[in-house]
């Protein structure tokens, strides 16, 4: 059974549909990136999955429990970093955590151990007695993540954990997520930052009101655009265009700025044959490079397509 399984999850606020017919499965131990621009409906999705708001339609199981029927069990099984951390500024870091430990019914010894463990992990142990009001944004975010972990949940929701952090603090938070991943927890990570999900996630859902694409970061890159091979010659490139086009496994070939740009049917296996064919035909190959589209280009393309699809839907 998957850790989280959503079927046709939909949420409307009045007329406005924030999340439309969302379906996915997340395996145990998977780090699942939920990527979309501001206002895409990421927080709304997290709020549905954690039982804060009810879906307008659709069904979902979290940790094996049916959302809407077993919300208390779900709440015990998951840890959540909410969009706004909601810490008590007038209490110390330790007091903030101990309060939540008590709510999760940890006995006082376990509570102290857990609090110490996570404060050390977040590098906040030395600051444990300081008021949270004096903490930087990054420290607050780390403390809020520690709070989400106190009761050892197997599933952790992190709603934009690095949003609004300076690059250094964001990196520290990403390191924390990496170590959580090492502990085998299932993580639902929302973000509007591509590089973040690219680095951290096993699979990425690109989402804007509806699911636009769901795959591993590598497949996302490869799936939307071909990998292209750029070949430079000692002389002009044009003469070799015909040679290349005659090869059966070449899909497309063109010349850009004295460079031959080629797409193959199966880039990995056919590239050596391509080069061999050129060399055998007498070409002086000087340089061969692969051009891969960045995830960013894939993402922007998808988001644009998603927007126009939405527009078409509204007009029809």
């Amino acid at each position: 059974m998957p850790a989280i399984s959503a079927r046709g999850l939909t949420r409307a606020f009045g007329e406005r549909v924030a999340v439309d017919n969302l379906t996915f499965d997340i395996a145990h131990g998977e780090v699942f990136g939920f990527l979309g621009p501001n206002g895409a409906g990421k927080t709304t999705t997290v709020r549905m999955l954690t039982g804060l708001i009810a879906p307008t339609s659709g069904a979902c199981t979290v940790a094996g429990y049916e959302l809407g029927f077993d919300n208390q069990r779900i709440r015990r099984a998951v840890g959540v970093l909410t969009e706004t951390p909601g810490l008590y500024d007038k209490l110390s870091a330790e007091q903030n955590l101990l309060f939540y430990a008590a709510i999760y019914e940890l006995d006082s010894r376990t509570a102290r151990e857990q609090v110490q463990h996570y404060l050390r992990m977040m590098d906040l142990w030395d600051r444990r007695e300081h008021l949270v009001g004096t903490f930087s944004k990054g420290m607050r975010q780390k403390l809020a993540i520690a709070r989400a972990l106190l009761h050892n949940p197997q599933i952790v929701f992190l709603d934009e954990p690095t949003a609004g952090l300076d690059p250094e603090a964001a990196n520290v938070v990403r390191d924390v997520i990496r170590s959580l991943r090492g502990e085998g927890r299932t993580i639902f990570l929302t973000s509007h930052n591509l590089h973040e999900v690219d680095q951290l996630c096993d699979r990425v859902a690109i989402f804007r009101e509806r699911l636009l694409r769901l795959d591993t970061p590598a497949n996302l890159r490869a799936g939307l655009f071909d990998t292209q091979h750029l070949i430079e010659f000692a002389g002009a490139a044009e003469p070799w265009l015909a040679t290349v086009r005659a090869l059966p496994f070449v899909r497309e070939a063109s010349v850009e700025d004295r460079v031959l740009v080629i797409s193959l049917q199966e880039p990995a296996s056919q590239k050596p044959a391509l080069i061999r064919a050129l060399v055998e035909a007498g070409a002086e190959v000087q340089n061969v490079q692969d051009r891969q589209y960045s995830l960013e280009e894939v993402y922007l393309q998808l988001i644009r397509d998603g927007a126009t699809a939405g527009l078409k839907k509204e007009m029809s």
Partner: protein, 253 residues
């Protein structure tokens, strides 16, 4: 048992957070004392035609003040909740398995402690000004005041969770406050009021509380107005508590 434990956790925690802002509490505590100091001297010079003598005045006035204290401080307690709603604190609590009733009741208890301190202080100051009443009556009376407090706090929480705006909560509290107070006979007995006001007061739950409180203070324990006052305010308090809890469950949904 679990519910009691959770109420206790929330209560202690809220109290701890509140104590980090001691000025707010101190100002709140001084408020009723100020009223007493400014109002009681006026009672000394009541004309002989009044329904009661100047000596009785403080005994009539203090129970009224005690009832008045509850709406005046407690109807505004939802404002703090709006702040917690906005800064994510409530949302964060709502993703834990903690009982929703425990959250509302635990927070209400914190506000009730402040109210109780205000009440005790008020009675103590009134005592130095010549209040001479039944001791057991005062104790039960403070209990009655707490029930009124719970009613007002719960209503204020519900307003806060539904309206999600400090100004709106304050406006509603202000709009409700004046008729609640004027039509309860708590500043002066309703016997002095014209007929239409007495009829209007029949629909004001606080009017019954004030009557019960006066009976308690004068030691008339067999008077049915005491039981009526308790039953009515308790019923309303329980009802409003569930209303607030329901609103908390649904807040932001």
């Amino acid at each position: 048992m679990k519910l009691l434990r959770e109420i206790w956790i929330i209560f202690i925690h809220s109290l701890r957070v509140a104590l980090r802002n001691p000025m707010t509490i101190i100002v709140g505590l001084l408020q009723p004392v100020t009223w007493l100091l400014l109002f009681a001297p006026l009672l000394k010079n009541l004309p002989a035609t009044a329904a009661f003598s100047p000596e009785e005045a403080i005994n009539i006035f203090t129970p009224g003040m005690l009832v008045m204290l509850a709406p005046i401080t407690s109807l505004f307690s939802g404002i703090g909740l709006v702040v917690e709603l906005r800064n994510g604190v409530l949302d964060r609590l709502r993703v834990t398995p903690v009982s929703r009733l425990a959250v509302v009741l635990g927070k209400a208890l914190r506000d009730l402690v402040v109210l109780l301190l205000q009440g005790v202080l008020l009675v103590a100051v009134a005592w130095t000004m010549g209040l001479r009443i039944h001791l057991a009556g005062i104790l039960v009376g403070l209990g009655l005041m707490m029930i009124v407090g719970l009613l007002m706090i719960s209503c204020s929480y519900a307003f806060a969770l539904i309206l999600r705006n400090e100004n709106a909560v304050a406006s509603i509290a202000n709009v409700l406050l004046l008729p609640l107070l004027l039509l309860s006979g708590l500043i002066l007995p309703l016997e002095l009021a014209p007929r239409w006001m007495q009829i209007a007061a029949d629909f004001n739950p606080l009017a019954y509380t004030v009557e019960a409180m006066r009976a308690l203070f004068t030691g008339r324990f067999d008077d049915t107005v005491i039981l009526n006052g308790f039953l009515l305010t308790t019923a309303l308090a329980v009802f409003s508590l569930f209303w607030a809890t329901r609103s908390f469950r649904r807040a932001l949904a």
